[in-house]
């Protein structure tokens, strides 16, 4: 059973179980036990699975290790310490592994000093960076505590010499659960944990997580099932143990009547002020490009402060080299940096020293993310986390103000945990077959214990086995593709091929290699950035596009390189590329919708401006300026058109340059709008048999077409129970499906990064995603890895279950739909039209499309001939 632990233990109870040595050490370091320790230590001591959710710096790691160290010291003192791995600690970050090792070795040394003798407790790190000699040393003298990453754990589980050391693991700590649960790395880990538990049935699982929700689901993810019910787990929720000081700031009093340049100046002055009045500031942007832009502008506008010979500013994001990032981390810890700007890479708990302010530029799109980011400041349990969200426009302002309210009122948005991912399953089954022969039924049963596969059907499982054993390939060629053999008579499964171990170890993992196109300045080798494969397809010679805040003119492409001209003064001709953007969480979206609804009610009841302002002030915890901006924005929308809310979708129709635009104000976040808009576009496209252009944002979407289109009729035609079929058709020809298929193919080891000693250089004769997907579609349109790509798009990238609920609510008239006609786009519609991620829903057959374009060009040629 999964249950919340409501009361902490008493300090005396903890003192009673601790060995005098560790007790002496502990109180030489700390005055008292922290709240997470009072909740967690006894449970771990009693061998109960637990999930501890607490902010960064809340002594989570020591909570996890205290009981374990205690028992190891007891064992050491009684001279019964065995040569085996007692505890495995898993963190998603390699950098974190080294931190943790130091944080264990130091205390052990100190305790040895207190005891005046060696304790003989060994701690070792095993990650992708560990040398072969260190690995073989571990085999001879196994570490009692093994620190590793999810990928290295999977490797260890498939190396038969190491497996012997994993037969009686007693504890497994999973750190940063929040960073794993919502992606395929977590899915992968959930299976590794089951593999480990299969070897060590008595193992206790300990999960450590930052602020996240829903905790009961995360706990279930952590512990999995036994006999088809969740294993026991206690949840220790100490998320709000740290005090937070959180504010929304606007760079200018009026966000609408301000020029871009003025806005920029004010924003950077504000940022500079904040940096100067604090010791060390951490700035989070939502994209890597924005990170670079902020640094560039700060240096340019305040050269004396930031651009000196010994710069006090640094960038930290995933595209930067490891060495560079390490040097930034080091300088941060040494207090040499005044400010560091990051996208997501500093969200996780590596020790970055003393930070007293976190600035969020633009909405972080989820309450949990906001709290995780802000939690990076005041890296001590008793210090205050100080965060400032700087808003960039009026939608941002409302979004962040509501986010602030949710954060203060402890309403954390729920994450989505991927389930039944067949690509990860294929990789893990291969790993299991490499470790030893296994019976089909046993294998299926072990897999079903993982939360992520508890509902896995036997059919899907068998299809993955078919794929791995090369059943889809003629017998003659099978040897090239088959990774395992399946003996139908005995039900046994085993590995195939002499190279299997090497292939597995060198291709393991779930983080996809993006097939990016490098953008270079023509005539040079200077790379200015990367664009997506599909974006290149859309580019035409002389098109101007924005990358990393700068404009470039596209000249020509050669293979996987796009050559551009950097000195261009024309406006962009092609919309920017938004696929990097974080989606707004559904729960937060609903809160914003609710606020809009309350505001509309005030307007409907003719409340005075003063009354409404007071309501905003009380409801949102914002200052006067912000309240008045929010008032004006909503009032404009109310008077000009109508305010869309959580219970009312507004469909706004207007014409621009002869083309009909329909803006659907559906504030439910991009994951829902992605699905909803495509379903609508598909219904329209199908009835008209023409392609439909659409643009998607968090706040709604637009559909653009030559003629009048009845979007509300289309919306009403979509039935929640038919949504799956509809969406499978709607995404079939999209770029995103092709791209995700490539990722899935890599995870399922259909595409190998490392093969026969060659590391595939990305970019060298890159096989187009089209060729890959076509080859597989011809085997079967329901080929398991293709099915997985569709699932990933519909369930992980988009949010089908929520979209279906929404449609049900529309069917049941719990959500109303209302049409309005406008001459110009309403205030709310502007951003939806301007900042959408545009796409086209292809319905027209490729040949029909060609014929139509052919007719058009022939017409033009005839006209020209006549004119001449």
């Amino acid at each position: 059973m999964i249950e919340y632990k409501l009361n902490s233990n008493k300090p005396q109870e903890l003192r009673n179980i601790l060995n005098p040595l560790i007790k002496k050490w502990f109180f030489s370091k700390f005055k008292e036990f922290s709240l997470p320790q009072l909740f967690g230590v006894m449970e771990i001591h009693s061998r109960n699975n637990i999930l501890v959710s607490a902010p960064t710096g809340a002594t989570k790691t020591l909570t996890g290790f205290l009981s374990i160290l205690n028992e190891l010291i007891n064992a050491s003192e009684s001279d019964i310490l065995e040569d085996k791995v007692y505890c495995i600690y898993i963190s998603p970050l390699k950098a974190l592994s080294n931190d943790v090792q130091l944080n264990l070795i130091e205390p052990l040394k100190e305790m040895e000093k207190i005891a005046g003798k060696k304790l003989g407790i060994r701690v070792a790190v095993r990650t992708g960076d560990t040398s072969a000699s260190e690995k073989s040393k571990m085999l001879k003298k196994p570490p009692h505590i093994l620190i590793t990453t999810p990928e290295s754990l999977a490797i260890v589980l498939s190396s038969y010499r190491f497996i012997d050391l994993l037969q009686a693991v007693e504890w497994c700590i999973v750190d940063e659960v929040h960073a794993l649960a919502e992606n395929k790395r977590g899915v992968h880990l959930s299976l590794s944990l089951e593999r480990l538990q299969h070897l060590s049935p008595a193992m206790t699982r300990i999960g450590l997580s930052a602020t996240i929700a829903p905790l009961d689901k995360i706990a279930h993810f952590l512990v999995g099932n036994e006999n088809e019910v969740p294993r026991n787990c206690k949840i220790c929720n100490v998320q709000f143990v740290k005090k937070t000081d959180l504010k929304v700031l606007s760079p200018v009093p009026d966000l609408i009547n301000v020029e871009h340049g003025k806005m920029q100046d004010s924003m950077y002055s504000l940022i500079d002020d904040l940096i100067q009045t604090h010791k060390t500031t951490l700035i989070f942007t939502n994209t890597r490009a924005a990170t670079e832009r902020v640094i560039h502008h700060l240096k340019e506008k305040f050269p004396k402060r930031y651009a000196s010979d010994d710069p006090t500013i640094g960038a930290h994001h995933g595209s930067l080299s490891k060495e560079y990032r390490h040097s930034i981390e080091k300088r941060l810890r040494e207090g040499k940096l005044k400010v560091v700007v990051s996208s997501t890479s500093l969200e996780l708990g590596i020790d970055i020293g003393y930070i007293d302010l976190v600035i969020l530029l633009g909405s972080p799109k989820s309450v949990a993310r906001a709290l995780q980011r802000i939690g990076r400041s005041g890296h001590k349990l008793h210090s205050v986390s100080k965060g400032r969200i700087i808003v960039l426009d009026r939608d941002d302002m409302i979004e962040c103000s509501v986010l602030l309210k949710s954060a203060i009122e402890k309403k954390i948005d729920r994450i989505h945990i991927p389930e039944n991912a067949l690509d990860v399953l294929a990789q893990q089954i291969y790993g299991i077959a490499i470790a030893s022969k296994v019976h089909k039924t046993d294998l299926y049963n072990v897999i079903k214990k993982s939360y992520c596969y508890k509902d896995l059907t036997l059919k899907d499982f068998n299809e993955v086995l078919d794929y791995l054993s090369g059943k889809h390939i003629s017998l003659e060629d099978r040897h090239i593709y088959a990774k395992i053999w399946v003996d139908e008579e005995t039900g046994l499964i085993g590995r195939k091929g002499r190279m299997s171990r090497v292939i597995y170890m060198t291709n393991i993992g779930t983080i996809p290699d993006e097939t990016f196109v490098s953008v270079k300045i023509a005539g040079t080798d200077h790379v200015v950035g990367k664009i997506d494969e599909s974006f290149l397809e859309r580019l035409r010679k002389t098109d101007v596009f924005v990358l990393g805040g700068d404009k470039y003119e596209f000249l020509y492409a050669k293979g996987m390189v796009a050559y551009v001209n950097a000195s261009v003064y024309r406006a962009p001709t092609i919309p920017s590329w938004f696929s990097e953007m974080l989606p707004l969480s559904f729960d937060l979206a609903l809160e914003i919708g609710k606020f809009r609804r309350l505001m509309e009610e005030k307007f409907n009841h003719n409340k005075t401006k003063k009354e409404v302002l007071k309501f905003i002030n009380d409801y949102l915890y914002v200052d006067k300026n912000t309240a008045s901006s929010i008032y004006n924005y909503l009032r404009e929308q109310y008077l000009y058109a109508e305010i869309p809310t959580d219970k009312k979708i507004i469909i706004e129709n207007f014409t621009d340059r002869g083309r009909k635009h329909v803006v659907v104000h559906s504030l439910y976040g991009r994951r829902v709008n992605d699905a909803l808009s495509r379903a609508v576009a598909f219904v329209i496209a199908r009835s008209q048999r023409k392609d439909v252009e659409l643009g998607i944002t968090d706040n709604g979407f637009y559909v653009s077409y030559e003629k009048n289109v009845n979007v509300s009729a289309a919306l009403k035609l979509i039935k929640s129970e038919k949504m799956e079929l509809l969406m499978n058709n709607a995404i079939e020809k999209t770029e995103i499906l092709k791209r995700r298929f490539r990722h899935c193919a890599a995870r399922s080891l259909m595409i190998l990064r490392n093969y026969k000693g060659r590391r595939k250089r990305v970019g060298r004769q890159q096989v187009s995603s089209m060729i890959l997907i076509n080859a597989v579609k011809r085997v079967s349109p329901d080929f398991c890895i293709l099915k997985e790509a569709r699932r990933e798009v519909l369930e992980d990238l988009m949010d089908m279950p929520t979209t279906k609920n929404l449609l049900k609510a529309i069917e049941d008239r719990k959500i109303k739909i209302k049409n309005v006609q406008t001459d110009l786009p309403s205030p709310f519609a502007f951003k939806i039209v301007l900042e959408s991620h545009t796409d086209v829903l292809k319905i027209e057959d490729k040949i029909e499309f060609l014929k139509r374009m052919h007719a058009r060009i022939m017409e033009r040629i005839e006209e020209k001939a006549k004119a001449a």
């Binding site: 090239i480 593709y481 859309r538 596209f554 020509y556 060609l850």
Partner: protein, 246 residues
């Protein structure tokens, strides 16, 4: 469709009426095998598709042969890059190339193999079927070469009509945010000679988008704006000049 006097587009190949010959090129046998070697373990369809496309070509050719009162082609000219990768010929490629020759030889008196940049060692397998390998082929002012280098011979200089491959031309047709790429023939000139650039016969890949990619063939190192585009997608579609599509 006639692309220029005496030359008809037949699927992805060209029929030269006066010579009663068929030209096709850039088949790239062994394409997927090379992908496999690089760790892309997708199932193989290439050769099956090549044979299907070949069948279709011969089916479309029938009425043309009837009109010229011919029973069989005099020549089939393979204009380079029969094989995909440089280097050794694997067992499977060897088998497939022989089968390819055998099918072609049922439809013609003679197969002529023009060397491409991908098949410097095609000799032994060609020899197995007594097929001549040449650097180029010319007759009656028509000059056929792969196109990766410009010949310097007198025959070349005196020729009137050039047929090359190598570039795998394709064209992207765009409307709003939708863009689709199709294989195409190009018709233009090179040093006062008429020139036809043929698409690749490789059914798996489409080719180089002439609207935005840089060319590799030295024959196309020139302004191709006034080259004419013939899109191949089941039928042939004339799309005017390159500059009209930009």
């Amino acid at each position: 469709m006639q692309i220029i006097k005496d030359l008809n587009i037949v699927n992805l190949a060209l029929y030269i009426k006066s010579l009663n010959s068929l030209v096709l090129g850039d088949v790239h046998i062994g394409y997927e095998e090379e992908l496999n070697k690089r760790g892309v373990l997708i199932p193989r369809h290439h050769f099956k598709d090549v044979l299907a496309s070949l069948n279709h070509t011969f089916y479309l050719l029938e009425p043309l042969l009837k009109k010229s009162k011919k029973k069989k082609l005099s020549n089939i000219i393979i204009n380079g890059d029969l094989k995909h990768e440089f280097g050794l010929i694997s067992n499977q490629e060897w088998r497939e190339i022989l089968k390819f020759f055998d099918i072609l030889s049922k439809h013609c008196e003679k197969i002529i193999l023009v060397k491409g940049n991908h098949d410097p060692i095609i000799g032994p397998v060609a020899k197995k079927r007594n097929i001549k390998v040449v650097d180029d082929y010319s007759k009656d002012g028509i000059f056929i070469c792969h196109g990766h280098q410009i010949p310097t011979t007198d025959v070349f200089k005196k020729s009137k009509l050039l047929i090359i491959g190598n570039e795998h031309p394709a064209v992207s047709i765009k409307e709003g945010p939708r863009s689709e790429t199709f294989k195409c023939f190009l018709k233009g000139t090179f040093k006062n000679k008429d020139m036809i650039v043929m698409p690749s016969f490789n059914p798996i890949t489409i080719g180089t988008d002439v609207l935005k990619e840089q060319f590799i063939s030295p024959f196309l190192n020139q302004d191709i704006n006034s080259f004419e585009v013939f899109v191949i997608a089941g039928n042939v579609y004339y799309f005017g000049k390159v500059k009209d599509l930009k």
